[in-house]
């Protein structure tokens, strides 16, 4: 018999807040986390806009050996995972004795790799790199650090699926628990923030150049949008079987009821209506829900001209034009590998607190966005069920449906 899968912990380390309380305040008030990062201009960036988080000081929490293999993705993910595990009432002793998996989304370690290569170039001796860099350089850096720190003994894999990594990580964890192969899985996504990581993306001319108005630059669905704003941080979502959550007396924040996925099988960067449409439809079919059950859609919409139009068309085709839609990327920028997980976390906060966060900077609709119900200002409303989209380079698509838990 298939198991029900519930969410028992959420953690955020985001440019709109360190921890859920700060993030909730930002979501309610439409606060942007976008800044102008001057050093990027000298480095050769076309646009210096970015979401920004501080590198956390982990010395009070972790030993030297635990810290030495961590660069930004793992540092950020430690902060979000610490918060999520605390909420889920899970500690190291329990995790050591009760099999728990980790599927974390991450798709780059550019900053760490470049720092390592620079050391070798300077010193011309690989021994002098030190022992931590290899663990910072590998794409599974978050998994390696968190699984050893928290004594996780179940599935242990990194999920790399471009800007849908975080979303697929929840989807894959959901499938494993649903089938009874795992009791609980630490899911999430991490995204480094440094100028090395995003230089080649900037080079494609994809980023907004509204540099004199950072908080206005990310404007998903607006007719005047001119590109996305890169961002990062980490988000963690703890999912587990309903039986496990009830047995432990853990808080139940929501239930995952649908996961749709697809691949466009076409252009490496251009979005595609058909792929998005299939992902949305698959999630709806799997969740066995009709369109009128969805109270809110957290759109992938990144503020790029073509991508947002395709998604507006896909949402309209599958869900019609009434369901409230917002893209929290209007505040956070595009959190890339982290986005699929953070946007589920943002939506859970909305569901728990009865509001839809605004799609800030949505002032003028275009032909496609006019057909759907985009929420430009914070709206008080109950959310019993929401859908979260994530789409990535290479044509990887993921849609998750999550509802309030009812026994």
């Amino acid at each position: 018999m298939e198991k029900r899968v519930v969410i028992t912990g959420v953690g955020l380390y985001s440019c709109i807040g360190n921890g859920k309380d700060e993030v909730l305040d930002s979501l309610r008030n439409g606060k942007s986390g976008i800044i102008y990062d001057e050093p990027r201009k000298e480095f050769g960036y076309r646009s210096c806009l970015t979401g920004m988080v501080d590198e956390p000081n982990l010395k009070p929490f972790l030993s030297r050996r635990e810290r030495i293999g961590m660069h930004q993705p793992a540092m950020y993910a430690y902060m979000s995972t610490k918060e999520a595990l605390e909420q889920a009432k899970l500690d190291v002793d329990f995790l050591n004795d009760n099999e728990t998996g980790i599927i974390f989304g991450n798709d780059s370690t550019a900053g760490a790799v470049i720092e390592t290569v620079d050391k070798v170039r300077e010193r011309k001796d690989t021994t002098l790199i030190g022992s931590g860099d290899i663990f910072q350089n590998m794409n599974c850096t978050v998994n390696m650090s968190l699984s050893t720190i928290y004594k996780l003994k179940g599935i242990n894999i990194t999920l790399s699926a471009a800007c849908a990594s975080g979303s697929h990580s929840i989807g894959m964890g959901y499938l494993l628990i649903k089938q009874g192969l795992q009791e609980r899985v630490v899911c999430g996504g991490a995204q480094e923030i440094n100028m090395y990581a995003m230089a080649s993306f900037d080079g494609l001319g994809t980023f907004s150049v509204l540099e004199d108005q950072p908080s206005k630059a990310s404007r998903p669905f607006d007719a005047s949008r001119d590109g996305l704003v890169p961002s990062g941080g980490a988000a963690t979502i703890i999912i587990e079987s309903l039986e496990s959550a009830l047995k432990r007396g853990a808080p139940i924040l929501g239930e995952v009821i649908g996961y749709g996925f697809s691949s466009n099988g076409e252009h490496i960067s251009n979005p595609n209506f058909d792929g998005q449409y299939r992902s949305l439809n698959m999630a709806m079919k799997q969740a066995n829900v009709k369109a009128d059950i969805i109270d809110y859609v957290n759109a992938h919409a990144t503020s790029t001209p073509v991508g947002d139009s395709m998604e507006a068309q896909a949402i309209y085709s599958v869900l019609g034009g009434n369901v409230p839609v917002s893209s929290t990327k209007s505040m956070t920028g595009h959190e890339c590998w982290m986005a699929g997980a953070s946007e589920v976390a943002y939506s859970l906060l909305m569901m728990q607190n009865d509001f839809v966060a605004p799609n800030i900077n949505f002032e003028t609709p275009d032909e496609d966005s006019a057909k759907i119900n985009i929420v430009p200002e914070m709206k008080e409303q109950k959310i019993d069920c929401f859908l979260s989209n994530s789409f990535g380079f290479g044509g990887t698509n993921s849609s998750l449906i999550i509802k309030k838990f009812v026994k």
């Binding site: 050996r65 001796d125 021994t127 002098l128 790199i129 030190g130 022992s131 931590g132």
Partner: protein, 83 residues
């Protein structure tokens, strides 16, 4: 660098790198246990020695080191050769 200077210099960078109390670094104490070194940490030990003293010990050099006193002997010999 005389022995006293070697002791004070190495105490400073070893306690900083391996995050141990300087007062636990005593000549008769075991180096590996005091600094809580695993196999990976020896790589970092080489790095901090090279950065602070200008020579790179080999794996064989560490085989004869038990106490900090042994370590100071090694440093003395290596620095003498460099001079």
């Amino acid at each position: 660098m005389n022995r006293e200077e070697i002791i004070s210099t190495t105490k400073r960078f070893l306690s900083e790198e391996f995050e141990v109390d300087e007062n636990t670094i005593l000549p008769e104490n075991n180096l590996q246990k005091t600094l809580d070194l695993d196999s990976l940490d020896y790589v970092d030990l080489v790095v901090v020695i090279e950065e602070n003293l200008g020579f790179k010990p080999t794996a064989d050099d560490f085989k004869s080191i038990d106490s900090f006193d042994d370590f100071y002997d090694l440093v003395e010999q290596k620095l003498a050769r460099l001079a």
